[in-house]
Symmetry: C2
Subunit: 352 residues, 2 copies
């Protein structure tokens, strides 16, 4: 019981991965505080913490709010830093918003950490998006950084904050660079959160899935319980030889295979095919899958859940709780976001 | 005459390198507009453009000011984007300020470029600081990015903006990653701008130079006229095979050799030695010098000015104009900046 009676903070803890992590930490006996600003489009949902209601202290505020955060951090043993926006398309349409959420807020949050919890262990949720179009596969931690969208640029800046402050001895940081994660508590009512969210939404509403183009691009979807285990392992490990780890799924699958597998599990007809959308081409990265060797060696972590198994568990979760995810407090908040301002040059690019 | 009648914008054009570039562009027959917000501590000085007063249109405003910038950009053939803060120490003391100047403002400026001058050639002044502590020497463009301070993180994010928008075909960007540049029009009254500014200030006020520690760390100082030539070449070249180039000085010299050479040129006694200051250790990068092979191949650029020659020209320039640089409109603005707020965890680190 690595976390028994440990005081942990989960930023973004009303979101997809953060809430799964918070629930698991409660089960491990931790005293869990969650900070989440419920920013429109970022996937936060109060219902996500329903299983641990009363067991978790929840602050609905920005991680940049130093006066709220410092007292929380002052009594904190471990920080899991998952607050952020993950949508690549949102970041291209609203780059300043993405900068504010993923970089500026992180800078202010880390300054609160330095002031109130110097040297604290902090595990940051990075992203494979920083690598951009893979120069080789599978992608390891030495792959060049070459983001293809603002989200990648801004998440990388925040990654560098963590690693730099670690090297200076001011924080004890570990970055987990995640591949596409899926599972219970993923936002289904926020468009532009990636193909897995779209596929799940369609499967749960009995719509046939669509494959864009030939569907041969590879991905390595990671089930959220496995991602949570990577965070738990990183938060508890001591004297790590590295401080940034890639974490990917158990096996590369083509997008077509993913769609077919999910359709089969959901009892849907085979996916249909349509041309690759023009607006996605500019930020498409082709095939990606992860070399998770180093996190396996150093943290003894490996992804345990096959896609078919994870998909079945995910569908079972949502079938009992669908109104909370398809008709939540914010109906289609992402759409509202995308339609909330006139197009500029970048939005013209991605929507043309 | 590559720039005859060309309409060029120089951001940061009241600063050190920007003003030298603007003066040279006027000599080449360009129609030069300068935008510079004269931010406290960034080295801007109205006197820098004294030789071309009346020949340059100067806007004292932020590059983030879209309503001012868009009309300028709409009639612009080439953009030289040199606005920014270069002080590593300022960035550690005031990280949000550095983020605002080096990243947020650049994001807003580039959006103005996309809207008013889509596809424009833009040459961005990057920095060797993004590489951090060299893993090998000399440092080429493939060296891993590992900044040791906020300035490096934020300049790298802006670099990625340029390169990403270039790959998308929205801008025609070239990044020149500069080593330590010195020469006429460098701010001498702003502390924390690096050792060359400090050495010049001392040499010009007849104070003996100091060598910190053993002074064996290597640098490759680049004379500003050579840096300007790199920008001119990058602005005029077409169909470049690469879009980020390192540009360094003609030869690596130790800090002791640099101090000794400058002392000899200035007619000063030999430099004195003192222990390496504790507050610099956290952001010290050891030895650095540049592999300028690629810019030599693709732009036929090479640094022409030896340090002894550049130092002599620099001292001659300042001796005739010293009041404008040591007692300018902003006496010690950098100091004012550094003392303008209470210490936080980071400032405690770098000043302890």
């Amino acid at each position: 019981m690595r976390y028994r009676d440990k005081r942990v903070l989960v930023t973004g803890g009303l979101g997809f991965i953060g809430s799964n992590l918070a629930i698991r930490l409660v089960a491990e006996g931790a005293r869990v505080t969650v900070v989440d600003p419920l920013i429109l489009g970022c996937g936060g949902n109060r219902f996500n913490l329903e299983p641990v209601a009363g067991d978790v202290e929840v602050h609905e505020c920005s991680i940049a709010d130093a006066s709220r955060l410092r007292p929380i951090l002052a009594r904190c043993d471990t920080v899991f830093n998952l607050a952020g926006e993950i949508s690549h398309i949102h970041s291209m349409l609203f780059p300043e918003r993405d900068l504010e959420i993923n970089t500026t807020s992180q800078l202010l949050f880390l300054q609160s950490c330095l002031a109130a919890a110097p040297g604290v262990r902090i595990v940051y949720a990075g992203t494979r998006q920083v690598y951009g179009v893979p120069a080789y596969l599978p992608v390891d931690e030495n792959h060049p950084v070459n983001p293809v969208d603002f989200n990648g640029v801004h998440k990388y800046a925040a990654t560098q904050y963590h690693l730099m402050l670690h090297r200076m001895g001011l924080l004890d940081a570990v970055v987990i660079r995640l591949t596409n994660v899926y599972g219970p508590r993923m936002a289904l009512d926020v468009p532009c959160q990636g193909f897995l969210s779209t596929y799940l939404r369609k499967a749960l509403t009995a719509q046939a899935l669509e494959i864009f183009g030939d569907g041969r691009q590879l991905r390595d979807p990671l089930y959220v319980d496995d991602a949570v285990e990577a965070f738990l392992a990183a938060g508890a490990a001591r004297d790590l030889p590295r401080h940034a780890y890639n974490a990917g799924g158990p096996a590369p699958l083509s997008l077509a295979e993913i769609a077919e597998s999910l359709s089969a599990v959901a009892g849907l007809p085979a996916p249909s095919r349509r041309p690759f959308p023009q607006e996605r081409k500019a930020i498409d990265i082709g095939s990606y899958y992860t070399d998770s060797t180093k996190i396996g060696e150093d943290l003894r972590w490996r992804p345990a859940t096959s896609f078919a198994e994870g998909a079945a568990r995910t569908l079972a979760f949502y079938r009992e709780r669908l109104p909370h995810y398809l008709d939540a407090g914010n109906p289609n908040p992402g759409c509202k976001l995308v339609h909330s301002r006139r197009p500029n040059a970048i939005s013209e690019l991605v929507s043309s």
